[in-house]
Subunit: 203 residues, 2 copies
């Protein structure tokens, strides 16, 4: 039977072997996470969204923890990308780069709160897994380099200060707790964040 007819525009024909289930599940999982949040995350709903049986994910990710681990690894990549995106719009001045990275940190947390919580405030992913651990250390080293470019040496305390300031703003914004700043216009908000971030850096 000639399955691939020349005008077959639908690649979604129901095949038993999906072919790209791994990526499809990751995509569905990210969408589910964004819609329902981390605490209501359901492996079976992810499977349904991907149009596959409830036990299919197990073969690719082991269990729900495995899926969340893979999702968190991807989350860290997007997290770093959010910081570098903001840095690209700022001047090369080391201080400006740190502030910009902070704005990217906050933007990621605000725009993808569930993913942010997954990578920073959840016990469900396996942070010992190679992929995820790599993303985590990569993010730390990204910040570490930025602070090093500003201070000369990479003092762990300086790094911690910058990190904590960005993370505190981001986490409180993601949780919707910074009422005083949340209601500001975007430009004023960014100005306020920049001023606050600047306090974390000595000088």
């Amino acid at each position: 039977m000639e399955t691939d007819s020349p005008l077959c525009a639908v690649p979604e024909k129901p095949r038993y072997h999906h072919g790209a289930l791994h990526d499809a599940l990751l995509e569905a999982a990210e969408a589910e996470l964004a819609e329902t949040g981390l605490e209501a995350f359901s492996l079976r709903r992810v499977a349904r969204r991907a149009g596959v049986s409830h036990a299919a994910p197990a073969h690719h990710f082991g269990d729900v923890g495995g899926l969340l681990t893979a999702l968190a690894a991807e989350g860290f990549r997007q997290f770093i990308a959010a910081m570098t995106a903001q840095q690209a719009r700022a001047s090369q001045d080391p201080q400006a780069q740190i502030v910009a990275a902070g704005l990217g940190y906050i933007a990621f947390a605000t725009e993808r709160p569930a993913l942010f919580r997954l990578i920073f405030s959840s016990d469900r992913p396996d942070f010992g897994a190679p992929d995820l651990a790599a993303g985590s250390t990569q993010a730390y080293e990204h910040l570490s380099r930025l602070v090093g470019a500003r201070t000369g040496g990479e003092d762990p305390v300086d790094i911690a200060a910058v990190w904590a300031m960005a993370h505190g703003l981001a986490d409180l914004m993601a949780a919707g707790r910074m009422h005083a700043i949340q209601h500001l216009a975007p430009a004023d908000r960014d100005r306020a964040f920049s001023g606050i971030m600047a306090r974390a850096i000595p000088g």
Copy 2:
């Protein structure tokens, strides 16, 4: 029937009506939260721990959200107490009081990570409920007063800076992510935290 005999040393006789189930459930819930964490929290396990049927909590708290709401309200009280406890050990100097409150903030997050996440990084409690909302605003006003005593006026940006710095340190410590500081001796750790907290305050 003389139920309270003079040498009745066991108040744990199995009565149908518990009498103090509300408080007993809260206590069991807090213990469960501390042991299993927020993400594995189970209403039925709480009921079992309190020695009561699985549907008993519903009568006192409605549903699991109601129980977590009550728990979060209690958590905010303990949170504020942790800050004031540290402040009592510090000098009356406004700057020292802010730093001490930050240390209390961090201590609470480190010693009760699950409760900390419940009140700051969870969607499950109903933060619109009067008790919980009161605790939340009380905590904010506590910080607000401290910053006001230092700066004169209560600038929302100053408050946000102090709050974010304390929260960032606390949340990253609770998650076990501040490796550079986590391995420090307690005295060195507190010195580092104090130095970092001081950066959040202008001057």
